[in-house]
Structures are given as structure tokens and as C-alpha cells.
């Protein structure tokens, strides 16, 4: 193994200098594209993704060939619920090795399907019969936690598009400090894995609905000992709550800025819930 994540036990610091329970820097913006209904840009460390949401809108007769992300969240067309169609483009320059991904890439297809189903469960799709919500995600740079970053970016863009939803779907990853083979009892769970850690250590992606403990997405593609799973999951869910706070702050700041600029009229605040 060329990687040196095994050095963790010496100083309890990870390869990028974080402690076990620290997130990477998350930077996000909404309303980045004026022409779209909703858009966002999100960085989790060096993972950078862009999201554009169009819709809900009814597809015309000509536009039949919309690439749907595995058909999650209802059928669209004449159905009673809106369809959530996710399309992911991974830029060739996004990772160190320039990988060519065709249209039928299985990995991308699975990502699309996961995101589509997760969002369809949170979005109030029954309010938009016969319509489609098109979510386009562009990966500009990859450094681990790709699925989590994509989910977070898609959530932000949906909020920006003004699509009603139950709550934010916030995601992050969690891992464990030792591999499956190493029968290490004192393995620490790790929060928000980068690419290097993802290569070497077992990890999972978890997304929760808002700041509740309700898990919306749980993806684990590596071998991990069952005894460590609970710790990883707990750390992951805790991370999701932190991520939700960050996303919420981004939305709030934008909203307050709009009120200050006079774009949106100020309404009734939360607390005058007395009747006249």
C-alpha cells in the first residue's frame, strides 16, 4: 500500500490533517445560473459540483429523449406525480486519471438513480402532475464523497427552484480507520472521506432528511465489519446534520440578501402567531 493512512494511530490525525469527526470545508452558492429555474454550486473539499434544475414542467411532444436517471420517483407523462429526472456529467478533467465515460456508464447510472429516488421521496411531487423535474449535475473536480456532494448540490438547487419539499436531503460520508482485514478493535470512525481514504478504507454514504435521524440514502460499497457499521452510521448521520446547517445558512443568506435588495417583500416573521 503506497498510501499512508496507517499513520493515523500515531497522532490521531488523518492524511489531510483533520481529526476523525471533522468535515472538510463546504462552500456553496445558489442561483448561479440566471436562465435556470434553480441552480447551485457546491464544494466539499476539492470535490466540486454544479447543479441546474429545470422544471417542474411538462415535456412537449418533441422532447421525448430526456435521459432519466433510472426512473426513480414515478413515471412522469400522464402520471399523478412529477418525475425526477437526473442527469450527471462527469468532466474528463475532474479526476487525476482521465477516464472516458460513455453514455451507458453503470456507475453514473447508479448515481443518477440513487439521487432521483432520494429527492423524489422528499420533494412534494404530487403537486405537479404530468410534469418532470430535470436535474443536471456537472462534476468539475473529484476528491471523494462524490455522491454526497451531488445530493447536497441537487437539494440546494431544488430549494432555489422553489419546489416544495419535506426537508433538505443532506448527505455526507463516513469511514473506518482500519481495513476489513485488519482485525483492529480500536478502529475509529471517520467523517467525510477524501479520495485517498476512500481508496484504502471502508466507507459508506449516508443522507438524512433534515435534522431528523431519518435516513434517506445509505450506500456502502466496501467490505466492513458489522461491529464498526453502527459507529460509522452514527458519525455519518451526525455529519449530515452539520451539512444541513451549512446548506440552510447558504439559503438563508441568499434570502436575506434578496429582502435587503428589495427583490422580495418582507413578510410576516415566524413568531407573531397570535390571531387578531
Amino acid at each position: 500500500m503506497p498510501l499512508d493512512t496507517s499513520a493515523y494511530s500515531l497522532a490521531l490525525l488523518r492524511v489531510d490533517g483533520r481529526r476523525w469527526n471533522e468535515l472538510r470545508r463546504i462552500h456553496a452558492q445558489i442561483r448561479t445560473q440566471a436562465a435556470a429555474d434553480g441552480s447551485s454550486y457546491l464544494e466539499m473539499g476539492h470535490t466540486k459540483v454544479m447543479c441546474v434544475v429545470n422544471g417542474p414542467s411538462e415535456p412537449g411532444p418533441r422532447r421525448g429523449g430526456v435521459a432519466t436517471g433510472g426512473g426513480g420517483g414515478g413515471g412522469g407523462g400522464q402520471s399523478k406525480n412529477a418525475e425526477v429526472a437526473v442527469n450527471i456529467v462527469i468532466a474528463g478533467f475532474s479526476s487525476v486519471d482521465r477516464k472516458r465515460r460513455g453514455r451507458g456508464d453503470k456507475q453514473v447510472f447508479e448515481l443518477q438513480s440513487t439521487i432521483s429516488q432520494a429527492l423524489a421521496a422528499s420533494l412534494h411531487t404530487h403537486l405537479f402532475p404530468h410534469s418532470t423535474i430535470n436535474i443536471s449535475l456537472h462534476v468539475l473536480s473529484q476528491d471523494g464523497s462524490l455522491l454526497a456532494a451531488l445530493i447536497n448540490a441537487a437539494t440546494l438547487a431544488c430549494v432555489d427552484a422553489g419546489i416544495p419539499m419535506t426537508d433538505y436531503v443532506a448527505a455526507c460520508t463516513a469511514g473506518s480507520t482500519s481495513t476489513y482485514a485488519a482485525n483492529d478493535e480500536g478502529a475509529d470512525p471517520l467523517l467525510d472521506m477524501n479520495h485517498q481514504e476512500e481508496q484504502e478504507l471502508p466507507g459508506l454514504t449516508v443522507a438524512t432528511l433534515g435534522d431528523s435521524d431519518r435516513v434517506a440514502v445509505l450506500v456502502c460499497e466496501s467490505r466492513v465489519q458489522v461491529s464498526r457499521l453502527e459507529g460509522m452510521l452514527a458519525v455519518g448521520v451526525d455529519g449530515c446534520k452539520q451539512v444541513r446547517e451549512i446548506l440552510d445558512r447558504v439559503v438563508r443568506e441568499k434570502g436575506i440578501k434578496m429582502i435587503q435588495e428589495g427583490t422580495v417583500e418582507r413578510g410576516v416573521g415566524l413568531n407573531d402567531m397570535e390571531l387578531d
Binding site: G60, D160, T166, D211, R214, M258, G267, L270
Partner: protein, 388 residues
């Protein structure tokens, strides 16, 4: 009992419900959230059984709260301090008081057992109308309402109706029976009309119409049974954000008017669709043939004559001066939207006059119609300074 509708109020008070209970009970996502956006304003009857009607909090507790109304004028440079509680975000609880009714942008959640809370499903601002609580989104797609004037594009031709894109979540329908057929307003629709439906409107045509009726699921039915409505030509189309939240076209007294342009441009029609679609065109007086003039020109006669040219797709001759002024008005509307100002007759007219003056002092002279970037900001600043 008569119902009085009070205008939405603004107020300020320190946040109370901002924090969420983090020790929510794990429960099934689908079972505990119930949404009512499709039927605004309904208190679900089931919830009444589980919730004990709580005593109203005494008015004394909030009697000190002061209501403040924000002036409607948009002010770019102002930096009023806005509390974090001024906007709500998805999943944020608004109230648990069962006497409130939930409106658009909210749903009932029972995250804590036994108590149902009205929760926001959007990022936006809370508005109240009597007992109805709703959340207005910061930005959303256009939602049609009966009587709205909209500009739309035909996307599909069916046997007895057209499907029109009006920027809403669904395509609107324009039935063949809801247009003015050539040869008299009161003529009955015949099978011949159905066969030559494409001679009235074909795919890609732009129409100005009025929302006549709404379906239960939010779909709209349009009509063009007036001389004001019909096919659009001789101009330019642009799509800005409509009435739904944020800047863009707002519902106002006049959505259509004729502007006397400067620099020999002649009269120019501006149509601001409530859905955010805008049409700016050369004003053309309806052509009345000589023989029709000699006859008695009652209102039905006039409509009869005009409707002959109504479905033409041929542009009239447009002078370069007129084209330039159309482009200038388009620039004004773009600048208004980019700077977060509302788009209505008043703003467009003032903006246009300002733009003409700006062009006179610019290097390019009156032919300079560029209003992007700094010019747009300058225009917006001039407008807000004047309106304030």
C-alpha cells in the same frame, strides 16, 4: 358571518421557533408528513381529533409587538438589517398552534409525537391572511390564475385544441372553441375549422391570451376571444421571471400599452405577460378596407374585418428606427430584471426615457442601445433614485 380579508402584515419579534428538536423520534418518512398544498387553506379533520385545542395565548404576551410595514419601493443601496427569522426554509416549523390553517408552501408534520406542526416546504417568507398561513417562495415558476394575461408559445396542435407553453408547471390548453374564428365573432365552430386548425395557430407561434379557467390539478385553459388577444407578430419575444416570487413581471393594472418611442421609432406595443413572457412589437393599426369603412362600422363589423388578418404570420415592414427602439426597450426590461427590480408599465416607461437620455450622452449617440453591465446598473440606480 362575513369574512373580512386582512392584508398580509409584517412584524418583528425575536425568533422563538427557530430551533428544531433534534431528538425527533425515528419514524417513517411517508406516514408522518401530510401535505395539503393542493387544497390550500384546509385544516384536516383528522388532526382535530389528535390535537387538544390549546388555550389561546393571552394577547398580553404579544401586545408589545410592533407591526412595521416596509415601504414598497425597491431600494438597491439600502442595507436594512433583516433578522434571520425573516425567511423560512424547508423543514422549518412555523407553528404548532392548531387554530392556524395551512396554505401554500406548508405541510403538516408530526415530528414530535402527538403534536402536529405547520411546517414550511419552501424557502420563502411567511404571509398570513386571517387564519391562513402560507409561504411565498423566493422564486418559483408561474402559477396561473383566472384572468391573468399571458404570452405563450404553441408547442403542440391536437384535434380540437392547442397546447401552449406559458412557463407554468404544465402546458396550458387553448381550445378551438375559445378563439375568434375569422368571419365574425359569433360564428359557430365547424368541422372545417377543426381540419384546418393549423391555419390559425401552428407549432412555434406566439399568442397573447387570457386564463379562462383552471383545472383541479393546476392546469390552465386559455381564451383569445377579444381583439386584444391573438397571434403575435412584428416584434421580439423575451422570457423573464414571472409572478411567482422574486423580481420580474408583477400583476398590475395595465399589462399592455403602447409606448410612443423616441428617435422616430413610432409607436411600440409592449405586452408584459403575467407569466414573465414579454412581447415588444411595432404598433400596427388594424387595416380597415375601404368598402368596410363605407358600411356601418359597428363593433361586430369591425371585428369581422380585423379577424381576416388576425391569423397572418407575415410580418409588416419594420423600419430600422423602430427595430432599434424595440431593442432598447428589450434592453431596459433585461436591465430591470438583472438588477432585481419589478417590471411594470411605470418602470418600463421611466426606464425607457432614462435609456434614451443615457444614449444621447454616450459615445455611440442615440443609436447606442447597449444597456448591459454597468449601463444597466446605472439605469437601475437612476430609476430607484427617482422612485424613492
Amino acid at each position: 358571518m362575513p369574512i373580512t380579508i386582512l392584508p398580509p402584515k409584517a412584524f418583528r419579534e425575536p425568533p422563538r421557533n427557530l430551533h428544531h428538536d433534534s431528538d425527533d423520534v425515528m419514524s417513517d418518512a411517508s406516514s408522518d408528513s401530510e401535505d395539503s398544498d393542493s387544497q390550500p387553506g384546509g385544516v384536516s379533520l383528522d388532526s382535530g381529533e389528535t390535537i387538544h385545542p390549546r388555550k389561546r395565548r393571552s394577547a398580553a404576551t404579544t401586545s408589545g409587538s410592533t407591526f412595521t410595514k416596509r415601504p414598497k419601493t425597491a431600494n438597491i443601496t439600502s442595507s436594512i438589517s433583516v433578522p434571520r427569522s425573516a425567511i423560512v426554509t424547508p423543514g422549518e416549523r412555523i407553528t404548532t398552534d392548531p387554530q392556524w390553517m395551512r396554505g401554500h408552501g406548508t405541510y403538516l408534520s408530526s415530528a414530535t409525537l402527538g403534536e402536529q406542526a405547520i411546517t414550511s416546504s419552501l424557502a420563502g417568507i411567511v404571509t398570513r391572511t386571517n387564519k391562513l398561513l402560507s409561504v411565498r417562495p423566493l422564486r418559483a415558476r408561474y402559477t396561473p390564475e383566472v384572468g391573468d394575461l399571458v404570452v405563450g408559445r404553441i408547442v403542440e396542435v391536437q384535434a380540437k385544441r392547442w397546447r401552449v407553453d406559458v412557463g407554468s408547471t404544465q402546458l396550458a390548453a387553448l381550445p378551438l372553441s375559445a378563439i375568434n374564428l375569422p368571419g365574425g365573432i359569433l360564428r359557430k365552430r365547424t368541422e372545417t375549422d377543426e381540419l384546418q386548425i393549423r391555419t390559425f395557430f401552428a407549432e412555434g407561434d406566439l399568442v397573447v391570451a387570457e386564463v379562462q379557467q383552471l383545472f383541479q390539478d393546476g392546469g390552465a385553459v386559455l381564451h383569445t376571444r377579444s381583439l386584444k388577444y391573438g397571434k403575435l407578430r412584428n416584434g421580439v419575444f423575451m422570457a423573464v421571471s414571472g409572478t411567482g416570487g422574486g423580481s420580474g413581471v408583477v400583476r398590475s393594472r395595465r399589462q399592455v400599452w403602447t409606448l410612443e418611442s423616441a428617435n422616430n421609432g413610432g409607436p411600440i406595443d409592449v405586452i408584459l405577460g403575467v407569466n414573465g413572457y414579454v412581447w415588444i412589437s411595432k404598433h400596427v393599426d388594424p387595416v380597415i378596407p375601404e368598402e368596410a369603412k363605407n358600411q356601418q362600422t359597428g363593433i361586430t363589423n369591425l371585428e369581422e374585418v380585423v379577424s381576416a388578418t388576425m391569423y397572418s404570420s407575415q410580418n409588416d415592414r419594420i423600419e430600422p428606427e423602430t427595430m432599434r427602439e424595440i431593442a432598447r426597450i428589450r434592453g431596459v426590461v433585461t436591465a430591470l430584471v438583472e438588477n432585481g427590480l419589478r417590471v411594470d408599465e411605470d418602470m418600463v416607461t421611466k426606464g425607457y426615457n432614462e435609456a434614451v437620455e443615457m444614449a444621447l450622452v454616450s459615445e455611440g449617440g442615440p443609436e447606442d442601445v447597449y444597456l448591459g453591465g454597468e449601463r444597466g446598473e446605472q439605469l437601475a440606480a437612476a430609476l430607484t433614485g427617482r422612485l424613492a
